[in-house]
Symmetry: C2
Amino acid sequence: MRNAEATQERILQAAMAEFSAHGIAGARVDRIATAAGCNKNLIYIYFESKEALFTTVLEKNLLRVYEDLPFTPEDLPGYATRVFDFAMTNPDLMRLIAWSSLEQKVDSPAARTAAHDMKVAALAQAQADGLAGPVFPPAFLLTAVMTLATAWTATNPFGPSVDPESARNPAELRECVAAAVELISDARLTED
Amino acid sequence: MRNAEATQERILQAAMAEFSAHGIAGARVDRIATAAGCNKNLIYIYFESKEALFTTVLEKNLLRVYEDLPFTPEDLPGYATRVFDFAMTNPDLMRLIAWSSLEQKVDSPAARTAAHDMKVAALAQAQADGLAGPVFPPAFLLTAVMTLATAWTATNPFGPSVDPESARNPAELRECVAAAVELISDARLTED
């Protein structure tokens, strides 16, 4: 039993590297098996299909993120800073999420949709309580914050992939992201 | 000669559809040849390789964008609105740009880097002339504007791909994007 768990863990780690580099269509189960040091058939027995393995890898990694990065709707600049730091130091997971959106062959993990909906609801409540600016709808604000906080990873088509110099100074970028998110999330309807 | 041009045009159109759907690794030159109604070898004669064909398709489409969407550093909300409208109505090209960033098998077309550098320079000049807020470095501001303006396309991992409802009302989104860009691009160092 202990052996089976260790093997599954090795498969998941090898799958993370393979999917991150090549996407779903480009990934080869043979290569995952070789890297994990196991029989290819074992992967199908444990995880059913290449697509199901991808979803499992993505979901397990996202669950870790949800634990490590608490959402603070009353402090969106702080949240954006934590997402920025996480995204810049976890390019593999950022690539996994990007492949997931682009390939359209797998559903978004249920946990991801649930986490998103909970954040939107928490943000709406913070706005109702006067803890976040009321100008933008909560779903708009959340997408804007997540998108800005991850814009300097290599997976954003308008970030370092077109301008490699732009990610040279993460400390300065982090401050700019926080300031931009503050401008958006503090916006009030009244001119003041 | 006229025939050759017409064939090349058919190949480019078929390649756009194939690359947009499947990316570079997933695209099949056979399918492009079948869709274009030509011999597969002709594609290699005209365009050298699958990768070179991808870069040609991307570059031709981007050159059209640069002509259709003039950059107005003194009016970033207006520019963001035009980019938003373009991105929402051209999902194929958005996907092509996203594959290009993610697959790392092809260089960014030279025209793309040149257009980016020209925009950053124009934005720096607008800031020096007091026509755009001076708080953010021009390269940061440009990436932020492009990223926000394209955040509700299906290729953004934090947009409609996690929350399909979020792109239901493009007219409202367009206004929100313009308002968010105005907040960022009008920001002054002084509190007022």
